[in-house]
Amino acid sequence: MTQKIVIVNTGCANISSVRFALERLGVSVDVSDNLSVIKGADKVFLPGVGSAFAAMGSIESKQLSDTLRSLTQPVLGVCLGMQLMVETSDETNDGVIQCLGLMPGHVARLQAGELRLPHMGWNTITPQQDSPLFKGIPADTYFYFVHSFAVPVYEKTLATCEYGQRFSAALQSDNFFGVQFHPERSGEAGAQLLTNFVEM
């Protein structure tokens, strides 16, 4: 199966590690910010680390927003890439920043209580049982997380995780999927999830 897999070049730093993880699965990938290349892909990855403010600035300067909203093929947002998929985020110095709005939802600072932030390390998730993205991945599987902001649990939540509060470890709205953790750095479990997405 020769699929066209494209990683959107958001200018963020985890592009290489997402590309390498896909290459380890034996699929070839393009990293691109070309609108027609992104539109023509079978599967699209939206990576991101850093701040929502910086990432949205980069996406807007490359005029990618409308293209991303128009996509109908499966799209997987990773970490900050997932957070950019919802409507708004608190991760900015002045109030609220507009995200891509590929699905409803809001990103807020993780209410970790006594626990340390960032939430950094391997934590267990609880996925919805019938999701193709989590095929073969049972509850209590460990994935690698690094973040201080999160999307609370709501109707688009596909998997949950707990760190001081329960939050969305994964989201889905139609063809748009997002994961808060880093599948590219989550060992065998991450490879399984990436395989599931590629084979979707």
Binding site: S17, P118, W122, S148, E184, E188
Partner: protein, 261 residues
Amino acid sequence: MLAKRIIPCLDVRDGKVVKGVQFRNHEIIGDIVPLAEQYAKAGADELVFYDITASSDRRVVDKSWVSRIAQVIDIPFCVAGGIKSVEDAGRILEMGADKISINSPALTNPDLINQLHDIYGQQCVVIGIDSFYNEESGRYDVYKFTGDAARTQQTRWHTVDWIKEVQQRGAGEIVLNCMNQDGVRKGYDIKQLSAVREVCQVPLIASGGAGAIEHFTQVFQDADVDGALAASVFHKGIIDMQELKDTLSSQGIPMRRRHQR
């Protein structure tokens, strides 16, 4: 539940993994990429690579191995040593490292921490601190340029004050190298780590002194650190990774279980 992390540390010099005792007399352990791959397969939760020559001898250091590691490793890894600027950090992150760790350059130019935080985000900014217990004064002092015995120097910072300072500037994680303990395998410096834990609100990684499984138990139970870093016990095969994790798990310390595909 968030698992506690076991982090093998690979000291790198001229593209080879080396290990010294109390930061001196380095011996070659092996090639970087196969060792990294071996540790990832053995169940390490994360890896740290310290380029121990870089900060102190001012030459441009070949970091192409970072990209080679990123290609084969499916767990997170951090690169330390010789990262003196935002541009240096950017290159390492672009090659596929998840985090960069700054030690001496942060002491020389503390504003670098703020810049890295603002550009790449708090999650990738690790501050390494070499802390030495001074018996005469009874204080913990921060040292820099510890990669080179001839240039190692004490700074004006007391360790706890520096920990507070780096958090305020945007550090996302702190690795505390307890120099008195490094390489001697007599156990982590629980007293110092506990004192630091009280003022450390970001993840804290213990480094220096691991020699037996019970040292890991102590550091997680008594100093409440988020991760434990060790080198020689893994390089020399003194502790088996899986046995370590099984033992800690049976003692109620949360450890990652591997996913069976």
